[in-house]
Subunit: 226 residues, 2 copies
DNA sequence: TCTAAAATACCTCTTTATAGGTACCACTTT
DNA sequence: AAAGTGGTACCTATAAAGAGGTATTTTAGA
């Protein structure tokens, strides 16, 4: 695949690592792309502004690295990551986001991310991290290492509240709880009986290891469920 | 201040609107700056990664526009905006953020923002909005207009939950509610009886025009009470 | 197609939460 | 001194929430 190179020492020839950007913010993509252009060992070969396009491009271009935003409309980053894995995309996926939330970090790594970098990092650090990532290393922003260590040592990685275990109905009810609705109104809204709502609440409390709907509401808000 | 221009029709001479970027993400700044460079009616003359530097630079450079991020460490965007106003900086301040949260939008505009743009907008739209802003127009992302209309018509701007009417004890209890504690545990923690906690809860519910502790918890979390 | 998971409904029982009232005390403002 | 505010306490009564169980129907996966 390597193209012919004119009048250049063959020994100095570097094959740039190819990168796909998936982020719904055009401006951010622009900034990252411009930064990466300064580095001849890295090359942005494709961009996408949503999960669907991103996955399509990943399959078409087979990049070495995928920089993936977490906070995207419709399909979020974690889901996108899982879909990429399902599609057997071989690229190394680096989550690139503003969220230094422990849940997000753990979820991303559990879902098989090969790195987790924060958008507020210095440009030089980002390039350095991408180099490492291209070499097969798992890269994590310095800020997060302490956080991760705590998460692991306190065993929270196994018993933390995990949205992935919830059924669609349960997620739906969580959002309504976070909206402050009592069971009776939730029932009316969903055209089911209050008793049934209680069953769902009971189940989701158990799954999330939470003690009350107040904790559910707080959790949901902090988790950014909408 | 206008520099000498060589061999150019004087009639076509445009004085670019000067812009100061305040955002803690270097990459985003990079992207925006690159975009603005394409437009010779706009010019980034300074950048800052935090509120303190931003305010200093605003006073030094007196830009026409300030693009201000909301989500910054230490001092957030709204506070920064207020500080700019206190310092009597004459620049038009455009909030530029990812948050399409109603509270944020309303808070920003109440604090005197001259615009509120979302980071996920298209580059062309951003440039167009900045042109409008430079002409003195208040620019709001299209996405937000519906939201704003609702906020105003439902009168939420005037009778929204206001923390200032709360007593210290009530604020304290709100934080504990948001921590998911039931009245009994709150009582233990504060060394008062559960009955007394109930009275406080009752009062604060009335003051905040909220219907349940769940709504209180959600409100507190979104309000960032800690 | 068979099966397991999900969603639904109804039951009882206990605990929490909310609303209303009265009352006392300390402190500040008028 | 009187009035107001904030914090405390106790009372009754109702509403809501949560835990336990059983059971039927749909839906989706193997």
């Amino acid at each position: 695949m390597r193209e012919t190179i004119l009048s250049e020492t063959v020994l100095n020839e570097t094959i740039p690592a190819t990168i796909l950007l998936i982020d719904d913010h055009p401006l951010l993509r622009k900034g990252v792309k411009q930064l990466i252009e300064l580095d001849d060992e890295l090359k942005v070969i494709a961009e996408a502004s949503n999960a669907i396009d991103g996955i399509k491009m990943a399959k078409e271009t087979e990049p070495d690295l995928i920089l993936l935003d977490l906070n995207m409309p419709n399909i979020n980053g974690i889901e996108t990551l899982k879909m990429l894995r399902d599609e057997e995309v071989a690229s190394r996926v680096i989550v690139f986001t503003v969220s230094d939330n422990e849940e997000d970090v753990v979820a991303a790594l559990k879902a098989g991310a090969d790195g987790y970098l924060l958008k507020d990092m210095e440009p030089e650090e980002l390039l350095a991290s991408l180099h490492q990532a291209a070499l097969g290393k798992v890269v994590i922003s310095d800020k997060l290492t302490t956080l991760l260590a705590q998460a692991l040592q306190s065993g929270r990685s196994s018993n933390k509240s995990d949205i992935s275990s919830l059924t669609p109905r349960e997620k739906q009810i969580i959002k309504l709880i976070a909206g402050g609705l009592p069971n009776k109104l939730i029932a009316r809204k969903l055209n089911i009986t209050e008793g049934t709502v209680k069953v769902h609440v009971k189940h989701l409390l158990k799954k999330l290891h939470l003690r009350s709907r107040v904790e559910v509401a707080v959790w949901a808000v902090q988790e950014g469920l909408r």
